[in-house]
Amino acid sequence: MTVTPDLDRRFREAAAAEGLLDVGFDVVESPIGPLLVAATDRGLARIFFDAEPELHLELLAHTYGPRVLRSAVSVDSAHRQLDEYFAGDRSSFELDVDLRGAAPFAQQVLHQLARVPYGQTTTYGTLAAKVGSPRGARAVGMVMNRNPIPIVLPCHRVVGSNGSLTGYAGGLDVKEKLLRLEGALLP
């Protein structure tokens, strides 16, 4: 006896509509490959480049609670804004974020990161100075590497002091692609 896609969808929608989820997620297609997007009642919580749900369910349950369910409506607004961003129609995201999983220093850095404007780059050192830790470029690099919400929190706009792209959790080619999309690199 197999549950039909329609029955399945109705349950998932009802679960989200009743506010019963600790975290809802869905897989969102994008020009840089499928993304796993997860949100809580506080806001957008995670974007994973590796979109296989099985890889992330335990982490999501551990961080936000066991009521983890795939449900498109939970990430509706993030999905729409990401589509607009990749189409070149959106230069800033209007989304609440849930940074519960991040340490206080990381949260501080991520809040500063969110202010780096579309189409511009900054350096790890500059970001470190902005959170009052001028020697903390390396620590900032670590925070970027573990950024829970890449793309929306634009760690792709942070580069080395010599202008090199340095690194990116989603791969350097993805970082380059995002910067080209934003016109921060020559096409």
Binding site: E18, D22, L60, A61, G65, P66, R67, V68
Partner: protein, 160 residues
């Protein structure tokens, strides 16, 4: 001795693992259309209780118990008003299944599940086997040894 406990899995994994079994059970009891409504309600109830689970053992039996209770509720609601319900043996206002669940609370887990599903929810041994991930014959044996144990009052302290 401590029993090793299984962690509660993320709800998505639990739902995907048991949804077909639950739907099959509900269809046999309620028919196609009513089963779909009850299916959604079963998993919504499971979701409401999910963050209060202490461990991830016997989750199939747990969710089938929720489904079976819903079948009973659905049966009650759909009875015409003029129909006289037979008197159920009720003690301090609790329905029969609540009493059996209470009594069986001190049995070992498999026997408890078998007794409750058989006598409180009137499940067939085929369905109980499904719930316990075993065979109908093993389910029958678990239920009858549970009943013998209850009658004899021989319940070991560690299940108290």
């Amino acid at each position: 001795m401590m029993e090793s406990t299984v962690a509660v899995p993320p709800f998505e994994s639990f739902y995907v693992e048991h949804r077909d079994v639950v739907l099959g059970f509900l269809r046999r009891r309620l028919g196609r259309q009513a089963a779909e409504d009850a299916f959604q309600e079963t998993f919504l109830r499971a979701l409401r209780a999910y963050d209060r689970l202490d461990h991830g053992e016997h989750l199939r039996a747990w969710v089938l118990t929720i489904a079976a209770r819903l079948v009973i509720d659905t049966g009650r609601r759909s009875k015409p008003e003029s129909y006289e319900l037979p008197e159920l043996p009720v003690e301090d206002g609790r329905p029969a299944y609540a009493q059996i669940e209470h009594l069986a609370g001190r049995l070992p887990p498999t026997e408890r599940a078998a007794v409750v599903l058989r006598y409180a929810y009137d499940l067939a041994y085929d369905d109980i086997a499904l719930a316990l991930d075993s065979t109908p014959e093993a389910a029958r044996q678990a239920a009858s040894s549970g009943v013998r144990r209850l009658r004899a009052g021989r319940i070991h302290d560690r299940y108290a």
